[in-house]
C-alpha cells in the first residue's frame, strides 16, 4: 500500500501534557494527558472542535498559557531531547520564534497596524540573529518575503499591513514565522479567514517551503479537508484528549474511534452527492463539568455502561494507529 510515509527521527515529543485552568466554576482540564511525536519533515494535523484543547496544546508547547488562571500541571515537551517545560523564561525566549514558530488565524490581529511590514519582519530577525549591519538585516527581510512569494518585496517593506490584501498579510505572517529558520512551524487555523483560491495558494506555498527547508509542521484545524490536503499524520482531539491518532490514510480509510467515524460521516463531500449526512446528536461537552468516563459517551451510538464510568485505554488498532475506545479493547 505504501501508506506509511518515512520521515526522519523524532524532533518534538510531547508526553502526557496536562494544562488546567483554575476558574471560579472549577478546574477546566483543557489538555488532559496529550502525547504525540512529530518527526523531522512531517506534517501533523491536530483536528478538533472548539474547546477540544487543540489550541491550548500548542500554546502549552510554546509556553504561552496565560497564568493565572492557566497552568501546565504535568508532562514533558521534548524538542530534540530537551524538555521545554524545564527551561526558564529567558531560555524559552530563545526557542520561541527561533526553533518553534507560530502562525495564528487572523493576520490582521497578529500584525501591528502602526508598524511597516519591514519593521515587523526585521524585528523577528533582529531578536534571534546577529546580523552585522542594518543593510544585512534589510537584505535578509527581503529574502524572507521573496521566499513567501511576495511580489516587489523591496517596496513592500515600506507598506503598512492595511495596504495589503488578506492573502498577502497572511504571507507576511508566514515570512515572520520562517524568518529564523525554525525546526517546527505551528499553524493554528492559518487559512480560515482566507477565500478558497487564496487559501489554495497559501497551502501550496507552505508545502513548497517545507520541501525547501525540511521543516516540520503542526496544523491546528477543524477542517478534514485541510488534513486531507496537507497532513501526513493526524491526531483527533475531543474534550482535552487525543482520541485517535494515525497516518492520514489510516484515519480516512479506517477510522476506529466512533467520534472520528461520526465526524467524517457528517461532513458534506464536494465530489459526490450525499442523500443525507449523518448528524452527531448533542453538543460538545462543557469542560468544567465533564461526565465521568468517556466524554463522548453521551453522543456515541455505541456507548454502553462501562463507557459512562471509566475512561477507555488507548489501544493500537494497527501499526502506528491508536484509538481510545472501549469498543476496541
Amino acid at each position: 500500500m505504501g501508506e506509511r510515509t518515512n520521515h526522519g527521527d523524532v524532533l518534538l515529543r510531547v508526553r502526557d501534557l496536562r494544562t488546567y485552568f483554575y476558574t471560579r466554576w472549577g478546574v477546566v482540564k483543557a489538555v488532559d494527558g496529550v502525547s504525540f511525536d512529530l518527526h523531522r519533515g512531517e506534517t501533523l494535523g491536530i483536528v478538533g472542535e472548539s474547546g477540544s484543547g487543540k489550541s491550548v496544546t500548542v500554546l502549552s508547547i510554546m509556553r504561552l498559557i496565560p497564568s493565572p488562571p492557566g497552568r501546565i500541571v504535568g508532562g514533558e515537551v521534548l524538542l530534540d531531547g530537551e524538555n521545554l517545560l524545564a527551561l526558564d523564561e529567558g531560555e524559552m525566549q530563545k526557542v520561541r520564534g527561533k526553533r518553534i514558530a507560530l502562525i495564528l488565524q487572523d493576520p490582521m490581529t497578529s500584525l501591528n497596524p502602526v508598524f511597516t511590514i519591514g519593521d515587523q519582519v526585521m524585528e523577528a530577525i533582529r531578536i534571534h540573529q546577529k546580523l552585522p549591519s542594518r543593510k544585512a538585516l534589510v537584505e535578509r527581510a527581503v529574502e524572507v518575503l521573496k521566499q513567501v512569494r511576495i511580489p516587489a518585496a523591496e517596496t513592500r517593506l515600506r507598506d503598512y499591513p492595511h495596504q495589503l490584501s488578506g492573502g498577502m498579510r497572511q504571507r507576511v505572517v508566514g515570512a515572520i514565522g520562517i524568518s529564523c529558520q525554525p525546526q517546527v512551524l505551528i499553524a493554528d487555523e492559518p487559512t480560515t479567514s482566507l477565500d478558497a483560491t487564496i487559501q489554495a495558494q497559501y497551502l501550496r506555498l507552505l508545502k513548497t517551503i517545507q520541501q525547501e527547508t525540511g521543516l516540520s509542521i503542526i496544523f491546528i484545524t477543524h477542517d478534514f479537508g485541510i488534513v486531507a490536503k496537507m497532513c501526513d499524520t493526524v491526531a483527533v482531539m475531543y474534550a482535552g484528549r487525543i482520541v485517535e491518532k494515525g497516518d492520514v490514510r489510516q484515519i480516512f480509510n479506517r477510522p476506529a474511534h466512533p467520534y472520528t467515524q461520526a465526524l467524517l460521516a457528517s461532513v458534506p463531500k464536494l465530489e459526490e452527492d450525499v442523500e443525507r449526512l449523518y448528524s452527531i446528536p448533542g453538543q460538545p461537552p462543557v469542560l468544567h463539568d465533564l461526565p465521568p468516563g468517556c466524554p463522548f459517551a453521551p453522543r456515541c451510538a455505541y456507548a454502553y455502561d462501562r463507557c459512562k464510568v471509566e475512561y477507555p485505554p488507548t489501544v493500537e488498532v494497527e501499526q502506528g494507529h491508536t484509538a481510545a475506545c472501549w469498543k476496541l479493547v
Binding site: 477565500d195 478558497a196 489554495a200 477543524h222 486531507a228 490514510r249 465526524l263 457528517s266 463531500k269 448528524s279
Partner: protein
C-alpha cells in the same frame, strides 16, 4: 441532492439587479467613484427550491441578499415575487412581502438579542405582525421550538444559556414564525462547530420538505452548497458568471472561474488529487472594473477579445448558463 422538488412555480425572480455605492475619494471626499457591488444580476427561485449563491468575499452575494430582503434599495432592476413587482409595493402589501421573506444569518451570537428571553425573541415577529392572544402566541412559540428540535420550556431561557447550534435553531424558529415562503440563509453553518453543522443542514432540509420552503443560500463552502442546493449561481465581481443545476454544475463546470473555485476546494480524502487551476493575481477592485470580461485579467484561457467585449449569459446545455466567450461568442 439535485433534480427533485425543482418543478414548482417560480416564487421570486430578480431581474438585472444593480447596486452601486458612491465612494468618496480625496480631500473632503470631493471626487466620488461608484463601487459596483452588484452589477446586473438575474436569477429565479422556484417554490420548494434552494438556490445557492457562491463566490469569494466582495463578489456581491450578501448585497444581493440584502436587496431581496429589502434591506438595501437596488440602484436598478426589479424583484418579482409571485409575479408582483416588490419594489413598487407600499404599505400593507410591502409588509406582507417582508413577512414572506425571512433571513437566518451567519453568527447566532450576534443575531439574537442577549437581553431577551428566547420565547420573546421568537414571539416578536408574531407580536408585530399578527394580533394573537397571549395563549395563542405561547402555543405558536412552543410549536416553533419543537419544529426546530428544541423544547417548549426553552422559551424561558436567555440566548447565552444555549450552545451555538441551539442558538442557530432559535434563529431558524424566529425566521419560521410568520410562515414565510422564502428564507435567505447567509452562511448559516459556517460559524458552528463541525459536529453541529450536519444537524443544522439536515434540519433546514427537513423544514423545507415540511413547509415547501424556498431558500436562497449564500455560502463559500462548496461542499455545503452541493449538499444543500438544487441549483447554484456563481458570482464574480458583481455578476453571475455561471448558473445551473447543482450536479451538472459540479460535474461539468464551464466557466474558468467556476473551474478554478472547484479546483481550489479542499478534498474530502487524501487520495483525491485535483489538478489545480492557478489563478494569477487577486480580485480586481470593484471601483475600477476591467474592461470586457471582468475575469479576463486572471483567466488562464483569456483571448484577445475577452478584454474588449463583455460576454453575456448563454444557455450552453439545458438549464446550464454561462457568460464566457469560450462557449460561442455573443454579438
Amino acid at each position: 441532492m439535485t433534480t427533485n422538488a425543482t418543478n414548482g412555480q417560480v416564487l421570486l425572480e430578480a431581474r438585472d439587479l444593480k447596486k452601486y455605492f458612491p465612494v468618496g475619494r480625496g480631500l473632503f471626499r470631493r471626487t466620488t467613484l461608484l463601487l459596483k457591488a452588484v452589477d446586473g444580476v438575474s436569477f429565479s427561485i422556484r417554490q420548494g427550491e434552494t438556490l445557492g449563491l457562491v463566490g469569494e468575499s466582495g463578489c456581491g452575494k450578501t448585497t444581493t441578499a440584502k436587496m431581496v430582503l429589502l434591506l438595501e434599495p437596488p440602484t436598478a432592476g426589479s424583484i418579482l415575487f409571485e409575479g408582483q413587482d416588490v419594489l413598487r409595493l407600499r404599505g400593507p402589501e410591502r409588509k406582507r412581502y417582508r413577512q414572506s421573506v425571512q433571513a437566518v444569518f451567519q453568527d447566532p451570537w450576534a443575531s439574537l438579542n442577549p437581553r431577551m428571553r428566547v420565547g420573546k425573541i421568537i414571539a416578536e415577529p408574531l407580536d408585530i405582525n399578527l394580533k394573537l392572544s397571549p395563549r395563542e402566541t405561547k402555543e405558536r412559540v412552543a410549536k416553533l421550538l419543537q419544529d426546530v428540535g428544541l423544547n417548549p420550556h426553552h422559551a424561558n431561557l436567555y440566548p447565552h444559556e444555549f450552545s451555538g447550534g441551539q442558538r442557530q435553531r432559535i434563529a431558524i424558529a424566529r425566521a419560521l414564525a410568520l410562515n414565510p415562503r422564502l428564507i435567505v440563509l447567509d452562511e448559516p453553518v459556517s460559524a458552528l462547530d463541525v459536529s453541529i453543522r450536519a444537524q443544522i443542514m439536515n434540519l433546514l432540509k427537513d423544514l423545507q420538505g415540511q413547509y415547501n420552503l424556498s431558500y436562497l443560500l449564500i455560502a463559500h463552502h462548496l461542499a455545503t452548497v452541493r449538499y444543500m442546493c438544487h441549483r447554484v449561481a456563481v458570482m464574480y465581481l458583481g455578476r453571475i458568471v455561471e448558473e445551473g443545476e447543482t450536479r451538472e454544475l459540479f460535474t461539468n463546470p464551464l466557466h474558468p472561474y467556476t473551474k478554478a473555485l472547484l479546483s481550489a476546494a479542499l478534498p474530502s480524502h487524501p487520495d483525491i488529487q485535483r489538478e489545480e487551476i492557478i489563478l494569477t493575481g487577486e480580485v480586481p477592485s470593484p471601483l475600477n472594473l476591467p474592461t470586457g470580461c471582468r475575469f479576463h485579467p486572471r483567466c488562464p484561457w483569456a483571448m484577445p477579445h475577452c478584454s474588449q467585449v463583455e460576454p453575456t449569459m448563454r444557455e450552453v446545455r439545458p438549464g446550464h448558463r454561462v457568460a464566457c466567450h469560450l462557449y460561442g461568442s455573443s454579438a
